[in-house]
Structures are given as structure tokens and as C-alpha cells.
């Protein structure tokens, strides 16, 4: 079959909010994913696209969201397009209403599309959410050979290592993630995987 039809709401989520449309549909030419959540949910995590060099277009398909780009807030009801062409711009989005869905398209100008580490990070996080920490860490190591600076993959690898009781490995992975992305400290502070090494984590990310 050379074409595929789906209802976005039927595409299963990886984690609490993310639908990996690109993988589901088999798209090879651009990144495309969707995030869904309810009032108050942070459905686009704060991040930039420095690692990928991507331009990103966010389309609010349903509900109502609030975006923040480089600290500037913008109201985003259904039908709003937020285009961030500066890969270094920090962006995030929060759902203001239940059933808010944001479609995201991304690719780097002047380059053939390559799968981003972000997508891999969601893959690793799905192992964590399923409790399969060994497989998650193994997959993360494979990915990190190709994307050694991908902080979300490093972060989820650290979670897996912590769950497996590999304290030193977890702390090293977490520190590498933190050096690349400072918001890792806040995310890690709320991550139950690090509860058993909480003191070390707090010290490492201080």
C-alpha cells in the first residue's frame, strides 16, 4: 500500500502525551508527531532544536494551548500556527483545555531529513514506562553511539541505569545530559527513578 489513513486520536501515545506519527505512518522526508493532553498539561516540553537544527511548525488542531517561545507567551486556540525557525529558540506549550492536540512538523533546512534523537528518546522512554529497564538501557546505548550529545536519550538512559541499581553509570549519564540541557535538573528532581540515589543526584546537578 502506497498510502495510509489514520484518525489522529487512534494513534497510540508513547508516554502520556506523545503520538509518534512519523513512525506510525512511515514518513521518511520530515519529522511529524503530535502531542495531546488536558488542561494544565505541559504537552511540548521546554526545549530547543540546537542538536537537530530543525525548523519546527506547531499546529493547534483541537482545544486551546499557551505557547512560550524565548520567554514570550502567546495564546494559541485551535487553528493557530506557531513556526519557530531559529533552532536555538526555547519553546514549550501547555494545554489550556481538555483534548488539546498539537501537530508538530520539523526538518533542517538545506539537509536531507534525518530521524532526530528526540524520537529515539521517546522510544527509550517507552521501555522505561513499560518497566523494561534493561532493554531501555541497551537501546539507549545503541542510539548514543550515533547521537552522543542527545540529552533526552542520555536522560532516559540515566533513568534506566538508576532503576537497574547502576548508580555510577546513572549519575554519569545524568551529568552529561545536564551539561547539555539545564532543565534536566528540574525534570530529574521529580523523576521517581532517581529516588534511591536522590542525594547523589541533587549533589551532581547542583
Amino acid at each position: 500500500m502506497s498510502w495510509t489513513v489514520r484518525q489522529i486520536r487512534d494513534v497510540p501515545k508513547t508516554g502520556p502525551h506523545w503520538r509518534s506519527l512519523r513512525l506510525e505512518l512511515g514518513v521518511q522526508a520530515f519529522g511529524v508527531n503530535s502531542t495531546h493532553g488536558h488542561a494544565g498539561d505541559l504537552i511540548v516540553l521546554e526545549h530547543d532544536e540546537s542538536l537537530t537544527g530543525y525548523e519546527e511548525l506547531y499546529v493547534v488542531l483541537t482545544g486551546h494551548a499557551s505557547f512560550e517561545v524565548n520567554g514570550e507567551e502567546t495564546d494559541a486556540p485551535a487553528g493557530t500556527l506557531v513556526f519557530v525557525h531559529d533552532a536555538g529558540a526555547r519553546r514549550r506549550a501547555r494545554a489550556l483545555r481538555d483534548d488539546t492536540e498539537i501537530l508538530t512538523i520539523g526538518a533542517a533546512p538545506g539537509e536531507p531529513f534525518e530521524r532526530s534523537g528526540w524520537e529515539y528518546a521517546y522510544e527509550v522512554s517507552s521501555y522505561v514506562n513499560a518497566g523494561d529497564y534493561g532493554a531501555g538501557l541497551e537501546r539507549a546505548r545503541e542510539i548514543l553511539l550515533e547521537y552522543p550529545y542527545d540529552w533526552p536519550v542520555l536522560y532516559w538512559a540515566a533513568c534506566c541505569a538508576a532503576r537497574l541499581g547502576r548508580r555510577d553509570e546513572s549519575l554519569e549519564l545524568l551529568q552529561r545530559a545536564f551539561e547539555l540541557e539545564p532543565t534536566v535538573a528540574q525534570t530529574a528532581a521529580l523523576q521517581p527513578a532517581f529516588d534511591s540515589i536522590r542525594g547523589d543526584v541533587t549533589a551532581a546537578l547542583a
Binding site: 502506497s2 498510502w3 495510509t4 489513513v5 489514520r6 484518525q7 489522529i8 486520536r9 506519527l21 505512518l25 512511515g26 514518513v27 521518511q28 522526508a29 520530515f30 511529524v32 530543525y54 525548523e55 511548525l57 499546529v59 488542531l61 483541537t62 505557547f67 517561545v69 524565548n70 502567546t74 494559541a76 486556540p77 485551535a78 487553528g79 493557530t80 500556527l81 506557531v82 513556526f83 519557530v84 525557525h85 531559529d86 536555538g88 529558540a89 519553546r91 501537530l103 512538523i105 520539523g106 526538518a107 533542517a108 533546512p109 538545506g110 539537509e111 536531507p112 531529513f113
Partner: protein, 205 residues
């Protein structure tokens, strides 16, 4: 400003085409949207052989009917249709007023370049506004980089005909029809060709 905010409704056009990529200044993928009332053709029948693009269609509002390789697809709001094969023929029609179809396209394994399709829609805007000279000038420029883009050739033919440059119009139309079979039925109902109707019919017979 490193980012831009707009809404689908704010990007308007005479032809129902919203040139989102141009409006937003995107350079990494093609992105456009179409809107129209019940019965309107939102995506004209075409394939993407010339561009090699994969295309993703999303219906953000109302209800459309799509057809891919002759197979009908019901597409209410929330539907996504991904056409991975550039050779697949596809079209979309609005079933209710205010239907919108949002489209993203790019070629796998290649850096994004602006497609002739986008240029053709830009030409159509000038044409519909009666700016035939401008449309022809832009067509000629576009054909340097996209000499086999039948949509650009078609609008060049229409513009030439409106400017009474009939030999030129027939030449552009012949080249377009050689590349795309649906040119013939389209040209049949195109008023620009009325003064040269007999020659057009002979050419496309």
C-alpha cells in the same frame, strides 16, 4: 524575530490556497493549506512524480472526501492521509462548507527545494487577479528551474492566451498536456482559450 505566530484563517487567498510556507518563511519542508465550500475541489487530481515528495494531508476541520489511486477515503476532521508513493494519484473534495486540508511535503533523502506546484499556485493568484503579464513573467522564470512542471506550463499557457500571444500559449499547453493527462479536460473549460478553442481542441485531441 526567530518565530512567527499566525492562524489558518489569517492566511487568505483568492483561490482557496493558503501559502503557509511562503507566509511563515519555512525552508525545510513544504506546507500549505486549502479551504473551500461543499463540493469544492481542495486538492486537484495530481501525483508528485516531478517533485518526489511524500505528502501528508491533515483535515483539521469539517469533512472531506479524498481519493488515492481511485480508492475513496472518507476524511472527517482529525483524519490524516499519508501518501508515501509520489506516483500515487490523489485528489480531495470538500463535503461541507469551511473544510480545510493542511498539507506537508518533502522528498526523502534530499534537502527541501521549493516545488513547481507552489510556484504554480502563486501564478494562479496573479492570473486570477488579472495580472497576466506578471504571471507570465514569473512562469518563464520558474520554467528555467522547473522546465517539466506541467502546472507552471499550464498557467503560462493561460497567461499567454490572455495576452493574445496565441502561438506561445499553444506551445506551453502542448508541453503541459504531454506531461499530464488531466490538462485536456481542464483546458476545455478554461475561458482563456476561447479565442483559440479550435486550435486547442486539435492540439489536445
Amino acid at each position: 524575530m526567530s518565530w512567527t505566530v499566525t492562524s489558518l484563517d489569517a492566511v487568505s487567498s483568492r483561490t482557496g490556497w493558503r501559502p503557509l510556507r511562503i507566509e511563515l518563511g519555512g525552508e525545510a519542508f513544504g506546507v500549505n493549506s486549502w479551504h473551500g465550500g461543499a463540493g469544492a475541489t481542495l486538492v486537484i487530481e495530481h501525483d508528485e512524480v516531478l517533485t518526489g515528495h511524500e505528502e501528508l494531508y491533515d483535515v483539521p476541520s469539517r469533512h472531506a472526501r479524498m481519493e488515492v489511486n481511485g480508492e475513496a477515503v472518507d476524511a472527517p476532521a482529525g483524519t490524516i492521509v499519508f501518501v508515501g508513493d509520489p506516483g500515487a494519484r490523489r485528489l480531495a473534495v470538500a463535503l461541507v462548507d469551511g473544510t480545510e486540508i493542511f498539507t506537508v511535503g518533502a522528498e526523502p533523502g534530499a534537502a527541501f527545494t521549493r516545488s513547481g506546484w507552489e510556484i504554480a499556485y502563486e501564478l494562479a493568484e496573479h492570473y486570477e487577479a488579472g495580472s497576466y503579464e506578471r504571471a507570465l513573467e514569473l512562469s518563464e522564470r520558474a520554467l528555467v528551474d522547473h522546465p517539466t512542471d506541467w502546472a507552471v506550463l499550464y498557467w503560462a499557457a493561460c497567461s499567454s492566451a490572455q495576452l493574445h500571444r496565441f502561438d506561445e500559449a499553444l506551445d506551453y499547453l502542448r508541453r503541459a498536456a504531454e506531461l499530464e493527462p488531466t490538462i485536456a479536460p481542464r483546458a476545455e473549460t478554461q475561458p482563456a482559450f476561447d479565442p483559440i478553442r479550435a486550435q486547442v481542441e486539435a492540439l489536445l485531441a
